[in-house]
Symmetry: C2
Subunit: 322 residues, 2 copies
Amino acid sequence: MSSIKDVASLAGVAVGTVSRVINNIGSVKPHTRDKVLAAIEQLNYVPNEVARNFKMQKSKMVALLLPSIWHPFFSELAYYIEDELDRHGFKLMLCNSGGKPEKELYYFDMLLQNKVAGVVGITYNHIEDEVSADIPLVSIDRHFAKAITCVTSDNYEGGRIALRELLKAGAKKPAFLGSRPVVYSDTMQRKEGFVHEAALHGIDPIVYEGPDKCLDDAGFYRAFLEEHADADGLFAITDMAAAMFIEAAKTVGRRVPEDVKVIGYDGIQDHPYFHPVLSTIRQPVEEMARTAVKLLLKKIDGDHVGQETVRIPVQFRPGETT
Amino acid sequence: MSSIKDVASLAGVAVGTVSRVINNIGSVKPHTRDKVLAAIEQLNYVPNEVARNFKMQKSKMVALLLPSIWHPFFSELAYYIEDELDRHGFKLMLCNSGGKPEKELYYFDMLLQNKVAGVVGITYNHIEDEVSADIPLVSIDRHFAKAITCVTSDNYEGGRIALRELLKAGAKKPAFLGSRPVVYSDTMQRKEGFVHEAALHGIDPIVYEGPDKCLDDAGFYRAFLEEHADADGLFAITDMAAAMFIEAAKTVGRRVPEDVKVIGYDGIQDHPYFHPVLSTIRQPVEEMARTAVKLLLKKIDGDHVGQETVRIPVQFRPGETT
């Protein structure tokens, strides 16, 4: 059977020109148009093939679902995800889905319609029931109960490292400060690692947690400072929480690191020009991004991806707060 | 002429099912398939229409070209661009193009192939000769010599405001610190506004500029401090440059704001938890983003977009450095 290339070659035009004639779009000179139609007739070319090939063409687009690109951790992640996709000839579609499950589901629909080849997602919405387990989806940080491949930093190990670093810096009364998310997330392992490591050192650490969103509220940190004036080491579940704690501590005259050592989690500070430069457990963002993309491309190719949760090792990055 | 909807309705199936049968993709039960084929025959439906409609379908995708999403100004911009596109039913494709003109040109090719409906771009590459002036393209910050619609903050006015704020804070010897970009950019107007406003006050300000990339080099700031020890007010072309200057000033014992007042440009700090909180000319990022999208959608619709450069007003945001 003749192909569109045969038609183009016989007519002495580009494939795009043949396509424009067939689909009656764009401008084609009458003379050229006649040449193309003659070639189509001569070769008995069936233009309907064009439609089929077009539809069958695998999408080279991957959707990235993030709560918000306007956050240093997510924008760094998106940077490396786009870079890795680009290396493999894929394009990135970006969706800020924060708090909008219907927006996320729209992208899963596109996946079903073959308009995107796969989805990389950090979702904190309850979309689990709507998503099938066997689609090309790789989750970051967030576990689904279903067997969806997930890439995270080694949150548990990060918690253990934080505890040891606080002790090394001289803390005797270490505390964990965090929130209880609405849906299960691997980030909850930060507390687990911290508490278990403390037990190994014969320490019963303070665990201070509020409901979802408590970390955005300055009052939460002041309440902690009032209730636990004796805490001399703090592991905050994120860098932002660490920074907000330090501001609150200032207002009650507690100095960091003199009176209380502080370690965050994320490593959102790229430059040492804004202070305090936080001591933190640095997320291996680049490796997480590239790993997630590689796993996704395997899934898109139909390969079996065995490991359900891939945990990338983390490191402590000392700053000015320990 | 019958439509695919008529076929679907007669066969008692969804349009998607008809499409799957026509294009021979996905799984359709044999019984359903027969019903669809019977309906096609009965209605004398020409499936080739499907191909045409599919091809004629306008892309609902807009490409965003940025040097790097991993930068607070660009990620905020991308956040609002995606949000505004979403309100109009468009999706965002993201491209980190920093220093890679061939990557940008790829997206312009997609535009010509109708795979994206338009492009919003911040480009610092020399791609001008390759891009036609009448495509749906809106540029941010960067002027092309060609009449391409550009949205910027009011850089000139920002420079004037910065000069006045430095004087108000008590500076007698104001200085401008910046770099000379390789291609013309509207950001160069920051210096112009600063210098012209100074002239109105009878002041001849220090203008200190290095070649492209000088702002990344700590040595550049130290050289300025050595040569202009008498400067007591500084307008830095970006917040990052302001922050790097402040670090360099510390090392030679010059205090901010006591010895030298500093104003940046951008407003990259979203939270007051990291210090110094810069006094800055805040870019109206949300309005720039929404304006750029609205202008682009007009161009996509074929409307005439008259104004070549749209300048959005800026404001001074006081911080800890003036």
